[in-house]
Amino acid sequence: MTGVLIALLAVPLAAGFLGLLGGKRVAPLLAVLGTTAAMVFALLLALEVNPGDHTAAVDLNSTWIPSIGVSFHIAIDGLNAVLVLLTTFVFAIGTWWSLRDPELATPSYLFLLAIGEAAVLGAFVAQDLILFVLCFDLMLLPFVLIAARGAGGDGEFSIGPVLLLLVYTLVGSLLMFVAAVGLAILTAKNTGQPVTFDLAALYGATLAPSTQRWILLAFLAAFLIKMPVVPFHGWFPGAYRTMPLPALAIFAAILSKVAAYGFLKIALPLLPDAVVDWRLVLVILALVSIIYGSLVAFTTNEPRLILGYSSVAQLGFILLGISSLDPAGAQGAIFQSVTHALVVVPAVILLALVSERAGGVERLDQLGGIAKRAPVLSALFLVVVLCWLAMPGTGNFVAEYLVLLGQWRVAPWAAIIASIGVVLAAAYALRFMIGAMQNLRGAAVPEHGVDIGGFERGLLALSIAALAVVALVPQLGLRPSDAASRNAVYPARSLYESQKKAGGDEAVAGVPAEDQESTR
């Protein structure tokens, strides 16, 4: 199966590159083939995963840069299998949908998307710290270049949002890179072994808590910015406004999930002491994101930003699940990553279809009344919105429930505050639905509209089918990560529980006294 694992990364990339060489005629065809093939490969790999086993199901370890201890080590395990499958699905939908617009889907653009796909998949399957960091940095670049397409207007100022996207997120990534190098070198000093970045080797040797703290700080800089979590979200409104919608669907659905995954793959197992120390900070950041994101999503008039801020809120839930240090919370976080991505993609597609019907206008106060003119569009919109606001019976509900359950076990107050976000989600999602589709005819909406065509229906049906799968059989998305998520939170979890026993209420509040570190 290692061949399939390599093909998973190589085939979409190769298809994109051949498309670049082949020109306008063959590039779309190759892009469709590449993304479809990746989806098939991901499915084959996911079937290999044994839910009861947290070790890798498919593992490939080869030398890459031996002179600095970096290996090309990739694997599929319970933690990443579902996310890999999700990534290939989202990229496939996003790429196919891009093909509607020949102006947009140039060979270069399709190759950029392919690079993005390979980088995201690489980050998910990486079992080497440097490989992860490289892919984490790399996955941003194609989207920066795609966003640059829309960096319009005259003069220097207009490229600001794109520049902000690049610099803001790369600052975090560069800090993470330094921390990764520091982590490996310090671990090597402790163990007396040559420097290695292989995660399996690093898991075994945890650093001193004081060292862990500054390293975690750098990792947080990367993850929290990329998600984004509220005080670090300054880059995203501009980026959301400039990015072409098909690329935005992928960007909003997938890239933030890599950061969430990074918590479970890197931060929790490698830096358990520091994570336990700062658990409260993470919980508060998550709550702030949930409340603030929901409130802004409820007030803004720009549909793109409604999606963006709602993502901030949903990412807050994911962070909340992770910071519960509870297997249920962690599993909920992974599942929420899946369900959120599956909602965002059709939501962005719907937004594009709506704005096409209003002459390209993307203002909630000028839309409205489209439901009567495009009933199929409206019906599909409703389905997506119901999943979005996590109606009981949807996969999103299961995910949020698991997150809240995990958090309830450690800090009930946080779960209570977070549940306000669930209510607010209903408010902003329905407001979006009503504003865009129902109401009286908006200023920008023409008298006679047309409903969506077959291609759009097909794509939306695919996305909604995926939503239906996670709603009807959530076990499919949950079970693979059973053992793996338990394993991911285990070091931090056991540390947290032993501190709680030793330090009583103080540790529950998340501010352990310094001397507790010696109890390990």
Partner: protein, 521 residues
């Protein structure tokens, strides 16, 4: 009566790359005299062949592990000098190809341009292999004088003439400073020969002469490397010189100057006491260059000025590695810098002939991805390589340099490099963003809405007012994409990418070259 002169022994085999460059210079000069297009073609061809032979010979010598003194004791061919010869010849090749059909060098005559580039590369090869003080100075002058002429070779542009004059005056000051340093060094140790100097330089009696000598040497080579605060000439000269010349000198001069400085300081003056003197000086200059270069490059309107400031910052990173004696890291980063820089200049040069009214102005890159996807990909790779982003050689080059600094307990400088890299994103990224944007001054609406692309019937006239750079001269006619420029840019970009995908060979080669440098003693 004929005086009997004892001629030194020449090791022609080891000298082959240097001879190829020198011979190519003569051939190009002669062939360039032939009238018409034939002369132009033959001159360029001989330049390409000469640099090709130089690179090929250097690679062969490298594979044989050659490490010997080639002209008496004054020239030493080892893997360090071969590395410098390969990079210098590669950038000479790029320079020759960029100049071949460029507007700027049209009037200067092609035989002359090619011959001067080869002459300068010849000087660089000698400088990088110099093993005694006189040869160092000979190489330095042989390198510099052709460059003064080349900078001024775009004769109908005042900026070019100014550039040449500025470089001549400041460069001569630099050369004179270095010469004084060499003289003091000779006065102190009584020897011209670097290994001899190494034996006596640590002597505490000699400090009175050695210390000022070392300081003057660093100042002299600091000019060539454009280290802050000796950098003032760089942006103006880079801006004024024809693009092909800027491309050549930004890479090749640095390469030769760095290798000779490494040889001089680490081999000749590596004694503990002397090292305590030059190490802090170099660290300070590196730190100053990183800050001044990166801050200065922000908001530069022209690509060549931007690259000028960027080269100051890059010199800072390189000298930081040199200061801690990490020649392996230095050469790895140098190679990454070289290919990235040449890629960027190939794109700038290609745009100059397509949009002559804009010249090297950053706005000439607007919408490149749509017009010339190949150039956009090349430019993106080159600029991202300079910024040290992942998947480029620059990334691992920076890793090597930062690692070496941390190993030498100079983590503060590694942090400064990190900060510098973050700042550098703010000037490397805007040209890239411009390349990829589809909505510029030409289009009105953002075209990311699938169906409704509103086209403006009166598309293009807004470019009329934007002419810059060509001071009062009638703008030359735009030409299409020159294939040789695209070709050399593609080769350089492929190397940038190869170094980012599989950096192990690069790192190993750099380590081998570094071992050779220290093995000379």
């Amino acid at each position: 009566m004929i005086a009997v002169v004892k001629t030194p022994t020449f090791d022609w085999e080891a000298l082959a790359p240097i001879v190829a460059l020198g011979g190519g210079m003569v051939v190009a000069l002669v062939l360039g005299l032939l009238p018409g297009r034939g002369g132009r073609f033959l001159a360029v061809l001989s330049g390409v062949i000469a640099t090709g032979i130089a690179i090929g010979a250097a690679v062969l010598l490298w594979n044989h592990g050659v490490q010997r003194e080639a002209i008496a004791r004054s020239v030493v061919i080892d893997r360090a000098s071969l590395a410098a010869i390969v990079i210098a010849s590669g950038s000479a090749l790029t320079g020759i190809l960029l100049a071949a059909r460029a507007h700027g060098t049209e009037d200067a005559g092609h035989g002359e341009t090619t011959a001067l580039i080869l002459a300068s590369a010849f000087g660089m090869a000698i400088l990088a292999s110099a093993n005694d003080l006189v040869t160092i100075f000979l190489g330095l002058e042989m390198l510099s004088i052709p460059l003064y002429v080349l900078c001024a070779s775009h004769v109908d542009r005042t900026a070019s003439l100014e550039s040449g004059l500025k470089y001549l005056i400041l460069g001569s000051v630099g050369s004179a400073t270095a010469l004084m340093g060499l003289a003091l060094l000779y006065g102190a140790t009584g020897s011209m020969y670097l290994p001899d100097i190494a034996r006596t330089a640590g002597d505490s009696d000699l400090q009175g002469l050695i210390y000022p000598g070392v300081a003057l040497l660093i100042a002299g080579f600091g000019f060539k490397l454009s280290l802050a605060p000796l950098h003032q000439w760089t942006p103006d000269v880079y801006d004024g010189a024809p693009t092909a010349v800027t491309a050549f000198m930004s890479v090749a001069t640095k390469t030769a100057a760095l290798v000779v400085t490494a040889r001089l300081l680490l081999v000749g003056l590596g004694a503990e006491d002397v090292r305590d003197l030059w190490e802090p000086i170099l660290l300070t200059l590196a730190a100053a260059s990183i800050i001044i270069g990166n801050v200065g490059a922000l908001g530069q309107p022209g690509m060549k000025r931007l690259m000028g400031y960027s080269s100051i910052a890059q010199a800072g990173y390189l000298v930081a590695a040199l200061a801690v004696g990490a020649v392996g890291a230095l050469l790895a980063y140098l190679a990454a810098y070289a290919v990235s820089t040449l890629t960027v200049f190939a794109v700038v040069s290609a745009r100059e002939s397509e949009r002559p009214e804009l010249g090297d102005d950053i706005s000439a890159l607007d919408g490149l991805a749509k017009e010339r996807p190949l150039l956009a990909w090349l430019g993106t790779l080159g600029l991202f390589g300079l910024a040290g982003l992942p998947l480029t050689a620059g990334f691992f080059g920076k890793v090597a340099v930062a690692g070496a600094l941390v190993n030498a307990d100079k983590a503060w400088l590694a942090v400064l490099i990190l900060i510098g890299s973050i700042i550098s994103l703010a000037y490397y990224a805007p040209p890239v963003i411009r390349m990829w944007r589809t909505v510029g001054p030409d289009a009105e609406e953002a075209s990311d809405e699938p169906i409704s692309v509103t086209s403006t019937p009166s598309g293009a006239p807004n470019l009329a007012g934007g002419a810059t750079g060509s001071a009062g001269v009638v703008a030359p006619v735009p030409t299409g994409l020159r294939w040789e420029v695209a070709l050399i840019g593609t080769v350089a970009a492929a190397l940038v990418l190869a170094g980012g995908l599989y950096p192990d060979p690069l790192l190993n080669l750099a380590t081998e070259a570094s071992a050779a440098l220290f093995g000379v003693q």
